[in-house]
Structures are given as C-alpha cells and as structure tokens.
Symmetry: C2
Subunit: 271 residues, 2 copies
Amino acid sequence: MRRSQRMAVLIQRLVEQPGRVFTLSEFAREFGAGKSSISEDLALAREVFAEDDLGRIETYPGATGGVSYLPVRSAERLAKSTGALAALLSAPDRILPGGFVFMTDVLFAPSWAQAIGEAFATTFAGAGAEYVVTVETKGIPIALMTARALGRPMVLLRRDSRVTEGSSVSINYVSGSSQRIQTMSLPRRALPQGARALIVDDFMKGGGTARGMVDLLGEFGARVVGIGVVVATAEPANKRVDGYTALLRLEAVDEEARRISLRPLTERPSW
Amino acid sequence: MRRSQRMAVLIQRLVEQPGRVFTLSEFAREFGAGKSSISEDLALAREVFAEDDLGRIETYPGATGGVSYLPVRSAERLAKSTGALAALLSAPDRILPGGFVFMTDVLFAPSWAQAIGEAFATTFAGAGAEYVVTVETKGIPIALMTARALGRPMVLLRRDSRVTEGSSVSINYVSGSSQRIQTMSLPRRALPQGARALIVDDFMKGGGTARGMVDLLGEFGARVVGIGVVVATAEPANKRVDGYTALLRLEAVDEEARRISLRPLTERPSW
C-alpha cells in the first residue's frame, strides 16, 4: 500500500465515524506500519484539515490514547452556513396559511440535517454532553446528526408511551403555542440516572416544549448542558427556559407582503 | 500541500457527503492541481477502498462527469453486520412484557442507524430510488441514514396532518398488529408526482403499515422501487405487501424461557 493510499483509508475510517476514538495500535496493525508513521500521517492530515476548516483531528496521548475526528468548524464557516440556511428558509413560497414557515424538506434533507448537526456540535463541543435528546417528530434528523457529530447516542422523548418500550416516566406540560396540556414520556431504560444531556429541537416559540423536556429529564436526574434550536421566534422574548441557543431568529412572517424575516443569530446566549 | 495531504482532503470531502457528485474541475481548482493528478489520486483511493471493502468511489466520464462516494459494502460484510445486529438484539434483557423486543436504543444509535442505512443502500443501490420514505416515528433515523448513503432526500409520512405542513393527502389503513383503522398523511409539497420511492421501516408484522405507505405513495403517482425493514416477523408468513427485504427475521420470543430467536436473512426476496 502506498503512503497516499494509507492516508485515504485513515481518513475514510475517521470521517465515517465522527467521535469514535481509534487507537494508533489498531491502525498500525491494520496497515502493517509503525505507530510513528501513522502519527506522521495524522499530523499531516490535522494540519491540512485545520487550514481548510474541515473539522478537527484530535489525538489523545498515553496508553489509553488514540485519535478521533470531530466535525466542528470555525465561527466564520458556521456564520456562512447559518446565513445560507436563513436565505433558503426565507423564500416566500414557504409561507403557509396561518403564518407558518414550511421547513420540513430542509430538516429532512440529509445534507442539511448534517450541517445543522455539525453547527450544534460546534456550538456545544465543550459542554460534555453524554446524550443528545429531542422530542418527536421533526427534530429527530437534526438530533441524530448532532449525536453523530459528537459521537454520542440520541434519546427520543415520545408524545405518548408505547407498549414496545417497557415502563416509562411521563409528565404533562403546557405547549407554548397551543396552550394545551400535553404528555411527554421516556422509557426508564432509555437514559441512565444523572446523565449530561444536550437538548436539540427544530423550533421554539414560547419554550413550553423545551421546558417539558427539561422537566422530564429532571425526573431522570439528568443535567441539561445546553439547549439548541434551529429557529426561535423573536416573540415572546421571554421563553419558558432560561438559556438556549438558536441558529436563526424568526422576526416576522408577513402573509400579505409574502415576506419572511429570518436572521442568523450572531450573538449566542451561553448556557 | 503534499500529495498525501491532498488525498486526505479529497477523501474527507467525498466521505462526508455520500452520493454527492463532485466535478474534477472543482477539485482541481481547489487544490491548484491538474485534473490528471486528481484522477490519479482517485484511482489509488478507489483501488484501496475496493480491497478493504470501504465503499465505492464512482467516477462518471464526460463533460458533465465527476466523482462520488457510495458507502455500499460486499455481501460478506453485510452478512457480518446483520449477524452482529442479530446478536445484539437477541439479548434476553430486551424482552418486554407482551413479547416485544426493545430495539429503540439500537435504532437511535447513530453508528447503528448508519450501518443499517448502508445495508439498505447496498441492497437497493441499483433500484434508482429518488426518495427514501418512512412513517413516523422509530424508522426515521434509519431512513435518514439510508437517504444519506444514497445521496437522496428523505420524506416522512405523518400519523396525522399538521397545520405547519400545508395541504396534505391522507389515507386510512388497517394496522396489521392492532387491527385498528389509522390515518397516514403526506403534505402535497413534500413529494412531486411520479417519483421513484424506496420505503424503509424498522419493523413489519402483518405488513398493514407498509401497505398503507404504498397506497399513500400511490396517491402521488409514485413508483415504489423497494421496501426494506430491519426486522420482519416470521408469522404471519403472508404480509399485506408482496415484495420486501428484511435484514432480520424474528422467529419467536419466548417470555418464559427468556429467549429471542432472531436470524439474519441470507436469501433476500428481490423486489
């Protein structure tokens, strides 16, 4: 195998499974090469990834050490991709009766879900999340991609409890938009006690659903280390949760003038 | 930039976005290199990817040509990963009251969802699917990862219709397991008329839900080019859909003896 071929395989393995820690011995065995050669390859890749803003190749020293790939990007690239997302979602033909904005096609496009997941992974890289949590339905693809980028499992809160999930904990909460009491549940076996959880969702208006998620996670003794949403409405300014990060702020939807005012947030509230 | 660094960036770009076609000119411009050098790099990578069963690097000739990465694997590797999945899901502590098997943690683990998505992408690589379709909720992560592996969008059928989605088409169907009439809907703007659709779901018993999906897609003039499920029950042998591919067959769940009989399918019914 040529050196550039070894590099091709190394990068395929790392990029295919973000967040997974590979040991150098594992690679050395696989390639029949010395650990020092593998280290050199990784140093060259790390250098060019940093230059081209392609994510971080992290190496961990020591006997239990290894290497992993984290698809986190620079603030500039994040601003560029949230800007592109704002432009895409502001198209007038996305306005639905009632002043809603059609976002489903974007949330369910794997490449956009992945870009959003990487934006959240970048924002919350230092939060030490052990689980990425969302509530059904539309937030699932972005939560899965956030979990993938962080190399963590995803946990899904359900709107009802199912026989196929075993015993569950349920809570009631008031949805901010409809002011109706709703139910949210989580199977006992889906989350260990005392875990560090990152909440991800597609949309926030009053924050009632996010509040419900925080409360249900509280029943599991979880520590919420961050809340990330794709779009938060400007009004009401006071949400039912204290700290959250939105990629985009929805200022107004003018059905008459066919105009959506959606802008990328530059200042990010820190949790 | 050294040659092995150019290779590192090339592979990062390709593996990060499966199914996306990049032009050689795009890469040549980015690297300030000749197209012939890029072609050589790609040939070396293609060779070693084929040897190591890491997926296909496809090149398309001509002026509109380019290159893309498809994470499809060999039949041997597919058998190995479905075998590992069967072993994982057969653990006795997964048995829930009523003879159900707890699968949610596996379906929602990004690495497993990705492995399952790549298994479906491998199985249906030649089917020419333009969209990957599932119904909420538990099939969403595997459908998203199948769509990602094929470089296609995902479309989600809902159990109800939402104001935030615009006008929808709904159908009623009989769920095989509960024998109850249920509703399934799809926003008009989510799928163009006459599309080629691949259906993906986590579980099939009677096939009623899959039948409903086929019927609803029929309302959009769609052509169903394949149905893939992770687990299909052995009984009833006659499902309500004709052709489907299951990765695993659930023979029996013995609550008394705490035993799950789940085996990988070696013969795949062809659609």
